[in-house]
Amino acid sequence: MRSDAAGGSAPKSPIPTSPIIEMKGVSKGFGGGSGERVAALQDINLELTEGTFTAILGPSGCGKTTLLRLIDGLVQPDAGTVRVAGHPPRPGPEMGFVFQSFRLIPWRTVRGNVEFALVEAIADPAERRRRADRYIERVGLSRFADAYPRQLSGGMKQRAALARALACEPEILLLDEPFASLDAQTRELMQVELMRLWSERKSLAVFVTHSVDEAIFLADQIVLMGPRPGRILEVIDVNLTRPRWSYDVRAEPRFAELRQYLWERIRALVLADPQSDFYGRDEVQSVSTGS
C-alpha cells in the first residue's frame, strides 16, 4: 500500500525498483508541554523509488515541509519509521535540500556558499572549488561566483541555492517550495531550469508545493495531502511525456484533466478546514478550473 488512497489511479512507479525512501506509519506532532500537542502528520505511508520526481501537493497546514524534514533526518518521527536506502536518515551530502527562503550565508560569496555544502564530501579545497565552479556554471551564475547574496536577485539567489544542493551530487534532492517567493515569470523559467538540471542526472526528487500547475509540470507522480492532521489522500501518476519544456504541456488534455481534478480536491479541502480563511464559504467560486 502506497497511500490511504481515496479513489484515483493505482500508484505505480515508472521504474520498478526497490524504494529508496520508505515511510511507515509515520506521525509527527509539535508543541506539547502545557499546551496541546498538534499533529502535523498522521500515519504517513509512502514509498519513493529511484529516479522519480515526486511532487507533494496540498494546502498550507498539511505538514508538507515536516515530511521533507523527516526524510532529511532533520527531525525525528514521534511514531513509525523513516528509512532512506534502508537506514534511518541522517542529514548530509547524500541528500540535497533546497529551501524556500534560499538560506544563503550572507557573509559568503556564491562560491563560498556552494563550497560550504561540499566540506563534508570533498576534503581537498582545490577540488572543492572546481566542483563548486562547475555547478555555479551549470546554473548560469559564473559571472556572479564572487558576488555576495545581497547583490543577487531572487531568481539568482535560488539558482545559487540550487547549485549548492546539486553540487554534492546527491542521490536524493529535497525541495521545499523553492520557487514560492519568486515572481511569476522567474518561477516558470526556474521550473524549466530545474527540469533540465534534474534530467542531466536523475536523482530522486521530492518537491513540495502548493501550486497545482507546478506539481503537474514537474512531477512523475503527485502525492496529494490534506490538512490537520497532515495525511496522504492520494497518489496520482502524471503520465505526461518528457522533456516537458520542448512542447506546450499546459495545452495537453491530460494536463487540463489533472489540473481540474486536483484543483477541485484542494478547494474542497480548504473549504472543509476550520483553520482556513475560506472555511464554509461555499459561494467562493473556483476561479482557475478552466471548466
Binding site: 532533520l74 542529514p91 535540500f97 529551501f99 550572507p106 560550504f116 563534508e120 554534492c168
Partner: protein, 248 residues
C-alpha cells in the same frame, strides 16, 4: 569627502563659541582656546601629560583587554549552551544594572588603591556590555541558516565557527564599542576614587585649584582617546563586514 568639510565647519564653530564664552565668563573660569593651547604645550614639555597618559592607558588597556578576553567567550558560551545562559543571565543583568561605583569601596578593601584595583574597576564596567552583547549575538543566530548547515551535514563545531560566530559579530562589536566608552569613564572614576594618578588625577588636581586651561587640556585628551578607540573599532567592523557593502 563632503562630510569631512562639514565636520571641520562644526569644529570651527565650536571653537568660536568656546572663544566667545571665554571672553564673557568672569574670573577666567573658561580658558580661551589660545590659553588652553599654551597650557597643552607646557604640559607636554614638562612631560606631565605623557606620564599621566601612560598611567591611564595602562589601566584602561589592562581592564578593557581583560573584559574582552572574558566577556566575549563567556557571552558566546552562554548563548550557545542555552540552559547555562538562561540560568546565569538574570544574575548578569542584575549585576549590570547595579551602579558599578557602588562596588568601589569593596574593591578598595580587597585590592587597595593601586593599579590592580583600578584595572578591576575598568574591567567591571567594560565586561558587562561586552558579555551581554556577545550573549545576545549568539542567541540571535539565524535558526534557518543553522538548519541549512545541519542539512549539509556540518558538524556542531563547524556550525558554531561558520554560522553562529560570524552572525554574532555585529552584536559583539557593538558590545566592544559600548564597553570601550564605559571602560574609559571607569578609568577616570577609578583614578578619582583610588590613588589620584593618571589623567583622572590631573583632572582632580587642576579642577580643585581652578587651573582651567590645564583642566581643559586633560578633558580634550580624554575625548581624543575616546574618539581614537571608537574609530578603530568602526574600521575593524567595516573590514570584517565588507559583505554588507558599506565598506569597499
Amino acid at each position: 569627502m563632503k562630510i569631512i568639510l562639514y565636520r571641520i565647519g562644526v569644529l570651527v564653530a565650536l571653537v568660536l563659541i568656546w572663544w566667545f564664552f571665554s571672553t564673557i565668563v568672569e574670573r577666567q573660569l573658561i580658558p580661551s582656546p589660545l590659553a588652553t593651547f599654551h597650557a597643552a604645550e607646557r604640559l607636554i614639555a614638562e612631560g606631565r601629560l605623557s606620564t599621566a597618559l601612560l598611567d591611564t592607558l595602562t589601566i584602561y588597556i589592562g581592564g578593557y583587554g581583560a573584559a574582552i578576553l572574558i566577556g566575549i567567550p563567556l557571552g558566546l558560551l552562554m548563548g550557545t549552551a542555552r540552559t547555562l545562559g538562561k540560568t546565569l543571565d538574570i544574575f548578569i543583568y542584575a549585576l549590570s544594572a547595579t551602579p558599578r561605583v557602588a562596588f568601589i569601596p569593596l574593591i578598595i578593601v580587597f585590592l587597595g588603591l593601586g593599579a590592580s584595583a583600578k584595572t578591576f574597576i575598568v574591567f567591571l564596567g567594560a565586561v558587562m556590555p561586552i558579555l551581554i552583547n556577545a550573549y545576545a549575538g549568539a542567541l540571535n543566530s539565524d535558526e534557518d541558516l543553522v538548519e541549512m548547515a545541519r542539512s549539509v551535514g556540518a558538524s556542531k563545531s563547524r556550525i558554531f565557527r561558520e554560522i553562529v560566530l560570524p552572525g554574532a559579530l555585529p552584536f559583539a562589536i557593538t558590545g566592544l564599542r559600548i564597553g570601550a566608552t564605559i571602560g574609559l569613564i571607569n578609568t577616570v572614576v577609578a583614578e578619582l576614587y583610588t590613588a589620584v594618578r593618571g589623567l583622572g588625577g590631573l583632572l582632580a588636581i587642576y579642577g580643585n585649584t581652578f587651573r582651567m586651561a590645564e583642566y581643559f587640556v586633560i578633558v580634550f585628551t580624554l575625548a581624543f582617546i575616546g574618539v581614537l578607540v571608537t574609530t578603530a573599532l568602526r574600521l575593524l567592523e567595516m573590514r570584517l563586514e565588507r559583505w554588507r557593502g558599506n565598506g569597499a
